[in-house]
Amino acid sequence: MIDTVLFYAFALLVLGGGLATITLRNAVHCAIALIVSLLGVAGLYLLQQAEFLFAVQIVLYVGGIMLLFLFVIMLVNLDQAARERQFNRQWVVAVTAVAVVAAEIGYFLWRGKAAFHIAENALSPASALGNTEQIADSLFSEYLLPFEIASLLLLVAVVGSVVMAKKRI
């Protein structure tokens, strides 16, 4: 019961935050709305008993990435951005495109509806290992290669940004 209530509360945060992100005028307000949305996602992780992902989501996205977003937004002159028109005027084209895509998705969902059913006992029985240990296990054994490739990619990004930012190395 309380899980359901919490799920809808967090889902409301995610969707409301997402909507506010794209509709608000002020860029700082948009960033805050995005933060609310990300916090909602963190809550959903927690409901799925993925407590490690919950913490990492907040530390990385809210504490790291969104903070740097805000940092940049604050240095930008906002007045001009707020005065510009936010959406362009091709309403007809946009509505048509959205309607076509929605009809397409709806049709296929309707055709494949037999495949959907609510999973019973979806939550795996609580294992002796915590969520953190499970993630570490799969990350460093089964998915070691993708993990290392991702870390290499990040290293390249770091080196690249240093090279681009510094005139003399």
Binding site: N26, V28, H29, I32, I35, L39, E51, F52, F54, A55, V56, I58, V59, V62, G63, G64, M66, L67, L68, L70, F71, M74, L75, G130, N131, T132
Partner: protein
Amino acid sequence: MQAILNSPLFIPLLLTVLIIALVPLVAGYLTLVERKVLADFQVRLGPMRVGPYGLLQPLADALKLFIKEDIIPTDADRALFWFAPMVSTLTSLTGFAVLPFTDKLYIADVNVGLLVISATSSVGILGIILGGWASNSHYSLLGALRSAAQLVSYEVALAFALLSAVMVSGTLSMQGIVKAQLAHGVWGVFANYGFMIVPFAVYLIAATAETNRAPFDLPEAESELVAGFHTEYSGFRWALYFLAEYCNMLVVCSVAVTLFWGGWLRPFPNVAWLEIPLNFAFPLIFFVGTGLACLTLVKRLIDTSQKVVLVVVALGLILTGALLTIPVVNHLMAGLFWFLLKVSAIIYVLVWFRGTFPRFRYDQLMNIGWKIAIPVGMGAVVINAVLGMVGK
């Protein structure tokens, strides 16, 4: 009634209410301690007027902040201006939810407790940066930007220091970390042949920066930025920022105690015969001694009402010492006594820093963060990993 008392949520909720009620008071008295200790470093007296030796000064300050005019600058972003201090205060209070005060006295034992604390502190930064931006003032904005840069930089070093400690204890749960130290028989800082002192040093430096305290108080450097991100704040909203800052200080020191100094454990937790001298005699001598020292100060006071207050304080201290000798109370509270004693010691060190070191320049701050603290933290993780494997 019985159903309420037996509910699993009863004790945590009671503790939550207690902490929310007590922490502002403790934070207020921390300011008094800080002012008194700094005054002592600088051969001054510090606050002396309100109450005996300034003992009631925090209450007067709190009253002043409550009734001060609340000014909102023109063209400020009003909603955010209201909202930002609350973010800071709420997140810093949330940190208390996972602190292990003793083995029985805690609100929640989450199995990612340490990560929850870093998550709350990283959300807390938002309060500072939004407050600085919403004020619509250059000083505030500069303070907020500095603070964001500083906190993001030092968070990395902090994470490395925490990682070393987590590797030694093998868990992220705050209760589990202390219990692991009990199992090892040594406090975390002496583990791995004493090498854990290096991550502790990194932690202390990074934590000082994370709590915006001198010598890393660039976000609120009063000589260059007026007051940094809270320049435009006044009255109760400013008090909320202040409260958040001191709460963060308490949380940071509690985490240091939990990870490195054995949490609620007494010194030599596995030596049984030290139970009586350390858990019974030491608190008794500590409280009664302090109470008697207070009594000797009474005759120097002139005002009668101040004398009464000081006598009451002294008797309260002596009574606390006496209560701690009752076996049942001692069993429950000895851990809390040690925890708070160690937290106070680290807070004293932070005040000592403030009284000793001059403020860093911005480039020095970044150099220390990125070129010293982070590499040392990384190296400490590697060396601790090797030492830990050798130890096994």
